[in-house]
């Protein structure tokens, strides 16, 4: 069973004036253990894809199975629980909560899972140790460099042992040295079995993934290496706007 199975997924944003197809009939499977990079120009639909994959947005059409669970009809509570248990997020801007120390930041997803104090403590310490920041557990995000903050964000993402890690431009705000460290961390996690899906502009980052898909105007295509798991959409490749 694939970790991520999308069939004819589309996303349409409507305003009073315009309709925008952010994704068109995307069909995609990501298998267990894969490291997938999603590339494409700005506004192409990469982040929309990531948000739908991460259950942060609902899809307009199609079907999406996450680790075998059809998420299409789930209510907010069930989606939140699934998100909490299956998915870890890493953002470009780190998105650490500034008035929580590292320990409490990493604790956030564990709290929503309803774990006991001892279990949470064990997981937090292990996650911070995994990213090399165990000694700074009582520090606040503002006391860390950008690279360190992103490592904390990764610790937060992996503390709950998710099967899928979604990263949106995780190195976008980092210098090259720090970017390499973060990428190494993601690769290590992938090597240990976590599925990693990374959205990036950076061809160098994308090149480190096992497989790339390229999204342009809401239409995805497999661009190299991997077996042909991605099929182009059935609809025309041009975005449509209706007044």
């Amino acid at each position: 069973m694939p970790m991520l199975h999308m069939k004819d997924v589309s996303k349409l944003f409507r305003t009073e004036m315009v309709e925008t197809h952010a994704l068109r009939d995307l069909t995609l499977e990501v298998a267990d253990g894969e490291f997938l990079a999603v590339t494409g120009p700005s506004g192409s639909g990469k982040t929309t894809f990531l948000n739908i994959a991460g259950l942060l947005e609902e899809l307009t059409g199609g079907e999406y199975l996450l680790d075998g669970v059809n998420v299409t009809q789930l209510d907010d509570r069930a989606r939140s629980r699934l998100r909490n248990e299956k998915i870890g997020f890493v953002f470009q801007s780190f998105n650490l909560i500034p008035d929580l120390n590292l320990l409490d930041n990493v604790d956030v997803p564990l709290r929503y899972r309803g774990l006991g104090r001892a279990d949470r403590k064990r997981r937090i310490e292990a996650a911070l140790a995994r990213v090399g920041l165990a000694s700074r557990a009582r520090h606040y995000p503002a006391e860390l460099s950008g690279g360190q903050q992103q490592r904390v964000a990764i610790a937060r993402a992996i503390a709950g042992d998710p099967k899928l890690l979604l990263a949106d431009e995780p190195t976008g705000n980092l210098d090259s040295q720090m970017a390499r460290e973060v990428m190494q961390l993601l690769e290590d996690l992938n090597a240990q079995g976590t599925v990693v899906v990374i959205v990036t502009h950076d061809p160098e980052i994308a090149a480190r993934a096992q497989r790339n898909i390229h999204i342009v105007d809401g239409v995805a295509s497999d661009i190299e290496r991997a077996p042909a798991l991605v099929r182009p959409g059935r609809a025309a490749a041009q975005p449509s706007a209706q007044g």
Partner: protein
Amino acid sequence: MFAYYLDLARRSFRRNVTLTVLMIVAIAFGVGASMTTLTVLHVLSVDPIPGKSQNLYVVQLDPRRALGYIPGQEPLEQMTRAESEALLRAATADRQAMMTSGNAAVEPQRSGLAPFFVDGRWTTTDFFPMFQVPFLTGAAWSRDDDTSGARVAVIARPLADKLYGTTQAVGRTIRVRGNDLRVIGVIDDWRPSPHFYDLNNDTYAKGEQLFVPFSTSRDLKLDRSGSLDCWDEPSGDPLAVGAPCVWLQLWVELDSKDKAAAYHDYLVSYSLEQMRVGRFQRPPNVRLRNVTEWLEFKGVVPNDVRLQTWISAGFLLVCLINTVGLLLTKFLRRSVEIGVRRALGASKRSIFLQLLIEAGTIGLVGGTLGLGLAWLGLWVVRHQPADYADLARLDLPMLATTFALAILASLLAGLLPAWRGCQVTPAIQLKSH
């Protein structure tokens, strides 16, 4: 999760102390002002005799001349002595008591204590069980004492303490206006508020200290107080039995609606009979109001108190609207954090609860502060020259109401901001940050 949400609320307060203090102060002032005026309204409009207020009725008849009669006009609010004594003798109700307020000089027999005046009530024996007067020692006088003008008295605890240094005063003598009366009962502190059975003097008067049989008071010519209305020039003593003057209150106890209806019919018959014999000239004009109806009719709660209550409720509303605005600002400024929490597994409901608990905590703190302000406000009220001033105190129900109001107010104020907060679209916040 409740403890976690409380901890998050604490952190949030520390993050923006000024905004938090502003909200707490807004709620505190709103609650403080509301509770001050609500407490005053509460003490002024509380049922003075719970459990019996529906069974005690004040009797009104209209014995005036025909001249000036307007159909539908209210009868006089007090009774003549002739009607009071006649209805008392008839004893048609379960209980009945006639009464007037009085004032008498008491001459203490203890050395070093100068004579002083006390407020009294000259009444009949049913007064005590009808109005549930609490006796410390002794008992009320008998019906025979009522008719014979017995030289007996019931006194209140403060007077007993003052005269004898003890409440064990039964059997002792009290000298009233030069006459010795035997003390047969001592009552505990008793102050029905409002002073429903006689609203002619102070509506929120302190309780009387001396109770003497009505007949005794007339024999000894004890001074009376309160209003005296005469529709004709009295030929002699306006307090005499046949005088065309009203100055007495007549209360009856009727323990069912049927009995009240029957008594009303009886009063109509009585009025017709008095017309037939030429004493009454107006058609029967009878009112039989229970305590609740009587207080409503007399409008015992001052209009300015009602007005102040409305104004302070409006003030609380303004404070709440202010708090809604501040909470909205506070919560929406945390959209990114909310987005992060949503991404990490918080449901909308979790976020809603978190924000609502934060609002409730502000209400709790604001309510505690508001309680202090209400206490201060009531202290100010107690120093006003109003007859109800010393009643203005927070009792347990009002204390509970204060907290309930504060928390309810802040939860209400928090509902909209918390709802808006939990509707934050995480995807937008996480990308736009």
